[in-house]
Symmetry: C2
Subunit: 627 residues, 2 copies
């Protein structure tokens, strides 16, 4: 079928990319000499350079451009912090165990694999059965532990390696646990995200920002998830680099002054409604998405636009990038709205950036746990008159009536909300006394008119105190890198036509090395010129590689195309040299003393290749430098 | 006494620095709202910027300049890797426990505190006793577990908080332990250094480098040490950033082609001999230290020189920086030589960079554990004739004589080194038989002439196979930062003379923000000019802060001096503005459209402040811009 041949093509393509990446040491399995460990990968030299370029650009594009406050907090995190955030209790996946060997599996993975294989390979199943399996796949993420267990039993699913029976599913916490200090009494975890390190610092950051909202804080760092059984190579790993922004904003004003700068961007968006009604993602103007309230607010919209610009500047293909809104069942109950930047690669659509309006959830959770109020203040220019409910228990009367229980009654009275209190007042007025349930006593008591005064008062307020909302763009740097590798990879025939050559089409911003310097032949004069050019490149701050080997020029080009080096400088005379552009293979001839500045101009984006192609003589293809 | 008043001054100075650092959020105690956790600190916004500047410069100065291969490996490390490196068995500190409460202390800390306090406060002790205590302090680091325990008993040292008695000292492993995957069967640790992540990749990196030596690999990343009871604030923490280099080199050729570039540097060196003979560190020419074999080899010397240039470029005071050679008892048995870059701060001399020639130890350890040979090959241009020892046991004869023990005897014969073998040959020739100890049998056996042939053979060899030596410069980034803060801090009186103002004298390279833009007064025209200048600074890639508040210009200068901002641009007209240098407080007048390029010139180091001071009119101190 078309879909299975598509799968073959995707698999072949992926293998070609991965082979090139591993051979050129963009990445390698960690601790390889010890057999490797699932879910851990190293970046090798070109991978490190790509990562460092992406992170520099991230700092430039987000932190510097928006004057964000960067912080750098530890990976080791005490339990109380992650208890407050909910991770200790809820950051789990459902796991089943082989009842004999103890090998662990993710329950949903086994059910998913079973349904998929049945649908693909068992031609004897009835249309009803097929529909049922497809339904299971569709609701997989919503199944409870009991429902998953029941389905595994019903379908007779066993351990894939041994065919032994499986335990019931039970939750496994995905945090790496450790212990802080020597006593063994202070549990800690390796952070599952960098965000909590920002939330706990809100008070100091707010002060640093002159007690003004909105402001954003940012953090780049390692995060950890002890996956049950990592799959999908570089996309699901146990340790990864996150870059996260927490933009704190007044919940009553989520407008953004710079929104107009991104409002005219148009790209694929996939709102909740389109997903539910079975439509596909459509190109949409960001301004329209916000004005039609498809995107909840301007600030969220602004970040969606900035993320789009960030990803496409790196070289992510616009046609394989979409912003997908979370469905109601995907979103935490407290979240106001949430969009994922998803990038399509050979594994399907991959969530690479999450952009969520998390309302006041996180700050409130830490306020409660720490008893330190994480709030903002809006000072009024003029004091405002506000009607305030006053509940004034008359302690003397209550003491006489309730003795040792007085305190509990007083607290219960003061804890009434406005509706309860106003109801009590009208009942006391009409009936003189009321029955009142005191939950700390577990019984009703009788309250009469003399025991409490309830009234409204006009007060002057000088400020409003509130918990800010937080809008969180969170970037999985490793996933972005992997998708970028796939989007940048292509092959082309060698000149002789006898082999396929690999090319990474990185923009200069991302390329691990910006240019190479080759003397055409091994000859002292040319090598001197090459060294002179190298010196001028260093002075201009351009990273380069010099290759003095006698290897054929075509092979040297092919080697550096495979690393995504955008420009190759070939020394074929002592006065002028050629600059070759990687993708077009076009060459221009430039004087030795101008080379560095021409390359710099194009790399910094002050000119395009087309501009310089027009300004300098092109190098004819019959000349010896040709591949 | 002078030394105790010195201590007071140091303490006061340190408090002033720390207060400024915390108030301006260079750093803050991690998880502060939960009461903080010993040994964990966050970098706040200016601290992050300083750190990021230092790491960029490190990449520039070491990785790019030397074409090093950067890698990026995980923090979570499987046990086998750290078993091979020796950390599982030996990365420990000796600990004692309060026998009632279980509180843990470092045994050497308690003994040290006791001796110091006794010496400082107990005036009744005899000169003999004082000498003994001073001796204990001198040999503290060399005491065994038993010796430490005996001293603690002898002196009657008890738990500092409760006065309860203490347990005997026992080793506590300083690695944070965790478990990889859900089974609980795969122990792991948070890496205590980044180096192991490089060693395990040696084979791939050597291949990437075209199977050529020497080359260096580098890694920047988090490392973890679960200190028993962290002290000394930012200097002894449980999580920290390391930047490490592993330079792999042929053990037979440790020369360095670029050594002449650093040979003329002269700075404080503190060789082993000077330490042992009670002398102090002396200024020495690096070239001389190497030629006199005080420093073991050129490559080690080259890195010492490069580290000196790195640290002083950041602003570390040359007069409070020394390179101290490890004493024989400090150095691992396998190390060829080891020097620490030590920086003096209020806590004393602090080890900030270690530069060690670790010989072949690490690669050999991983080769053995993994059974993957981590070796290099030197191909000979012409095959070389090499005399090779051949030991050829005659199995038939040995079998007849030793039956079941034959295998052990054969192995013992083959394991003889050249000297033993040649001795046996001459004895066999002269006596016909010899007594030979077989350690696996635990006894002597009699070997006669017919049982083994021993001779020398001339063989042709095409290559030499060897384990490279590694030279490791390892940088504690947090410690360097803290020392840099102390070296950069000074106070000066305000103009009115009524208060002391704090200044960080960071060079532009390190400064968290390069310049500020202030309109002199709140006025629309000036604000427009300020924004125009801000735009040109962004275009030039210069980080800045704009302050439009009506605060007095003096206060605005003071605020930014405290962040170490080197230049302040004050808009006091629409055509030209003033640029003020932080430390001299000198001001020049520059046209609006030239401002960005002048600032850039000085920041990039193309001109000095003195150069531009000479080129532009100075702003007279009677003008309104003055502080």
């Amino acid at each position: 079928s078309g879909s299975s041949s598509g799968a073959v093509t995707r698999e072949t393509f992926r293998q070609a990319v991965i082979n090139t990446l591993e051979r050129r040491l963009f990445y390698l399995p960690s601790f390889k000499i010890y057999g490797g460990f699932a879910g851990f990968y190293d970046n090798g030299p070109p991978g490190c350079a790509v990562k460092s370029n992406i992170l520099s650009f991230w700092r430039q594009h987000f932190v510097l451009e928006e004057n964000m406050l960067e912080v750098d907090s530890p990976c080791v995190t005490p339990e109380i912090v992650l208890k407050a955030s909910g991770h200790v209790d809820k950051f789990t996946d459902l796991m089943v165990k082989d009842e004999k060997t103890g090998t662990c599996y993710r329950a949903d993975h086994l059910l998913k694999d079973f349904c998929k294989e049945k649908l693909e390979k068992d031609l004897s199943i009835s249309p009803e059965k097929a529909a049922e399996l497809r339904h299971v796949l569709a609701v997989l993420d919503d199944l409870s532990s009991e429902e998953l267990g029941a389905k595994i039993k019903e379908y007779g699913i066993t351990a894939p390696d041994t065919k032994n029976s499986l335990s019931d599913p039970y939750p496994f916490n995905l945090m790496f646990q450790t212990s802080i200090g020597p006593s063994g009494l202070s549990p800690g975890y390796m952070r599952p995200e960098t965000a909590q390190g920002i939330f706990v610092n809100f008070k100091d950051l707010y002060y640093y920002n002159g007690n003004k909202l909105p402001f954003a804080a940012a953090q780049i760092g390692q995060a950890f998830r002890n996956e049950i059984s990592p799959r999908q190579g570089l996309l699901r790993v146990r340790e990864f680099t996150l870059a996260e922004i927490e933009h704190f904003v007044d919940p009553e004003d989520k407008s953004h002054p710079k929104f107009p700068e991104v409002a005219k961007l148009e790209f694929f968006m996939f709102p909740r409604e389109q997903q539910v009604s079975g439509q596909s993602a459509k190109k949409m103007l960001l301004g329209e998405a916000v004005s039609k309230a498809i995107v909840n607010n301007e600030t969220l919209g602004y970040f969606i636009g900035r993320v789009y610009l960030f990803l496409t500047s790196l070289g992510i293909d616009k046609e394989r990038l979409r912003f997908r809104q979370h469905l109601a069942n995907e979103m935490a109950h407290y979240a106001a709205d949430c969009w994922d930047a998803e990038i399509e690669c050979s594994y399907g659509w991959i969530e690479c950036v999450g952009i969520a309006d998390r309302s006041a959830y996180d700050l409130r959770a830490h306020s409660e746990k720490s008893a330190v109020p994480l709030v903002a203040h809006e000072k009024f220019v003029e004091p405002r008159e506000v009607e305030k409910l006053v509940i004034a228990p008359v302690k003397k009367e209550l003491g006489l009536a309730f003795k040792g229980n007085q305190k509990m009654v007083v607290e219960a009275l003061e804890a009434m909300d406005e509706k309860e209190a106003m109801e009590m007042r009208s009942n006391l007025e009409s009936q003189g006394e009321v029955e009142f349930f005191v939950c700390t006593l577990g019984k009703n008591v009788t309250i009469n008119k003399n025991m409490v005064a309830i009234f409204k008062e006009i007060k002057k307020e000088h400020q409003r105190v509130f918990t800010p909302s937080v809008i969180e763009p969170s970037f999985g740097i490793g996933r972005i890198m992997y998708c970028l590798y796939e989007h940048s990879f292509y092959t082309r025939p060698s000149k002789a036509g006898d082999e396929q050559l690999n090319v990474f089409l990185f923009p200069p911003l991302v390329a691990p090395i910006k240019c190479t310097v080759f003397p055409l032949v091994q000859n002292q004069q040319y090598e001197e010129v090459a060294k002179q050019i190298a010196k001028s490149l260093t002075a201009a701050g351009i990273s380069y590689k010099i290759d003095m080997t006698g290897t054929s020029i075509g092979k040297r080009y092919a080697r550096t195309d495979e690393l995504g080096v955008p420009f190759a400088i070939t020394v074929d005379s002592t006065t002028s040299v050629t600059i070759r552009e990687r993708d077009s293979k076009e060459q221009i001839r430039v004087n030795v003393d101008e080379v560095a500045s021409v390359v710099k101009e194009v790399i910094d984006g002050h000119s395009t290749w087309a501009d310089v192609l027009w300004r300098y003589p092109t190098h004819s293809s019959s000349a010896p430098v040709d591949e």
